[in-house]
Symmetry: none
Subunit: 199 residues, 4 copies
DNA sequence: CATGAATGAGGCTTCATTCAT
DNA sequence: TATGAATGAAGCCTCATTCAT
């Protein structure tokens, strides 16, 4: 009966999410155009509303999908590894999914940094697992004396993810010149761990 | 009738800029409403167009005014002072003007971090003096061995201003909880200079 | 697959008519929603179009069904009974079916009083038997001197049905306060036969 | 300065109300088209929204204007005149304004008879003075024994205005054939006062 | 210059209808 | 025959911009 249709429907939903991510990444929520999104997905305008209640709901779905992608790339590094190694692994996984889903990544980073206050709670909830993973690593690091313990790890985690977001922003803003995606993990971890002072 | 003197006209322009900064800070460029801006300035809608060619021109004027404010607060610290002292002084001046012109600051930070690509050149030009001042300090620091020299100072300067912007964002996003404006310079400079590793 | 028998199909049609009557009674033709009608009938949207060519066709089917219901309750009073008795019997039958099919009744009354001009002929044709029955009674009454003969019975019949419709509207509009369905036949017949002047 | 503009603005508002009355009279609230209304008024779509907050607000403004028109034609008949004379005078004034403002009248009658429940309170408030005038006349009539006193005058007043509305509806529905506007007051008053029984 | 009424392009959203399964 | 996903025309409303006073 509707077995194939269910699969098609899901495929359509994903096509809409992809198209929406592209549009939102380029223009932002307000300037994005629902009609263009639907056409880019090869569907009609009305179909968007069969899948998402509103433009904002579509946007949030994109953000949540981005969080899913981001969380999917869990690092495969032993807990015993030094903090900087584990952090680098996290960023390497991030870089990987950014390569695969650049549009989603751009939307997520922009939303995390400068999203509307009213959407903050939803975004926060979606992004919480990512932050928590960093906090965990830093907590382990602090226990082992690799991370200074004068500052709450939550604040350090926010700073670390902020630095990473910043780095992605600069990567995109510079047209990929600096930092390159390849260098990004090293650059960010080095800066985060030791700062600008000479070693 | 020439009922309005030159001084009044200039005052009107400033009132519009202030009102626009508030509106843009709260809603962003797209969602901001020209009519509400003019009313908040105590003027009529049409007057906006006697001062600014378009909504986007008004937005850019706000950004440029914000850069002027930011640049106005030059640090009064001798060049011989240690790098961290000079950086801290820069941030203290920044904090000062943020206290006075929070709306302008919010607009500027958001625009610098996640503004439209098409506006990037204009914003970059307006913000260049600020970046250059940091680069200069870091260049001096590198010469004196207080700053590592493996990384181009331009990149370090970008990172420093990025960290500061991040800190302001977190200040606003947390409702002023962390970091407080008072702590912000220390926090940012400490992080920038030495990172998360224990000293 | 011929999974649905003829009886089932007819039952579905009736369920749709009932659901449609409810929706049309509450919202009118324009504001009614085909999807909600089908869901209220426990069927899918598309099924509506297996039974009715369009929303308007469904609406007309509801009106016609209402006329059928209304006509079904023929009064069981001898022709020799006085006019007021026969008229009261008609209204009592009306009240009876209104009790059973309030939604259909509301749709019919609204359509008769203020329906679209373009649907007027169809509605008129459907309602003609009802009017004719009244006219017949009044004709008999005039012949017997119980009804004044200066006015064409067709006009009197229209007035009588109009008064009845008005009474139903006031019943619904007042939340059932006045006139009650029980009092309605007496009230209407009394007003119709003798007016507001004292007897 | 804006002296002329104020007058023009008011004229535009009236043009919109007239155009809206025509459109609403022909199609009803839902099917009416804001764009066509504005064009019929010789104005642009957006102008409607400078005067009325929404389509429904415009509709209610039309209804209220209709009530104003209706109330404006106060009968000039001495209080001592017999009830049927006074009632006839009221209807003659009604007929007069219906001749002048047919569209407004159609909207008002339809709304009073079969308007949306949610708009009922507003319409009731606007129409209250009209009803009250009838009730007053009937109260006087009852005091003088010209109107039967077994029924509350409020109910009689509702019936009278209902009969009048019905008569207008039939006038329009029959293409002006019956009753003619000229005959309408006599016909309605006669029916209301004495009913269908022979005198 | 300041004003604010008018403009009309643009966009989100609804929903009747179609059609492949 | 029943289903419900897709369609796209239609329409309300917003709001940046213009312009006569």
């Amino acid at each position: 009966m509707a077995r194939t249709t269910v699969a098609e429907r899901e495929a359509n939903r994903m096509r809409l999410l992809e198209a929406a991510a592209n549009e939102f990444a380029r223009k932002g929520l307000d300037a994005a155009n629902i009609n263009e999104i639907s056409l880019a997905a090869g569907l009609a305008k009305g179909t968007v509303y069969n899948h998402f209640a509103s433009k904002e709901a579509l946007f949030l779905a994109v953000v949540e999908q981005a969080c899913l992608y981001a969380a999917a790339g869990a690092e495969q590094v032993p807990e015993q590894a030094p903090t900087h190694t584990r952090l680098r692994a996290v960023l390497q996984a991030d870089v990987e999914w950014v390569r695969q889903n650049e549009a989603f990544a751009k939307v997520l980073v922009r939303e995390v940094l400068t999203g509307e206050e009213s959407r903050y709670p939803r975004v926060l909830a979606a992004a919480a697992p990512l932050i928590e993973r960093i906090a965990m690593i830093l907590r382990d690091g602090a226990r082992r004396g690799e991370v200074r313990s004068g500052v709450p790890v939550e604040q350090l985690a926010l700073t670390f993810t902020g630095l990473a977001d910043l780095a992605f922003l600069q990567h995109w803003g510079s047209g990929g010149l600096w930092p390159s995606l390849e260098d990004l993990p090293d650059t960010v971890v080095e800066m985060f761990m030791h700062g600008a002072a000479p070693r």
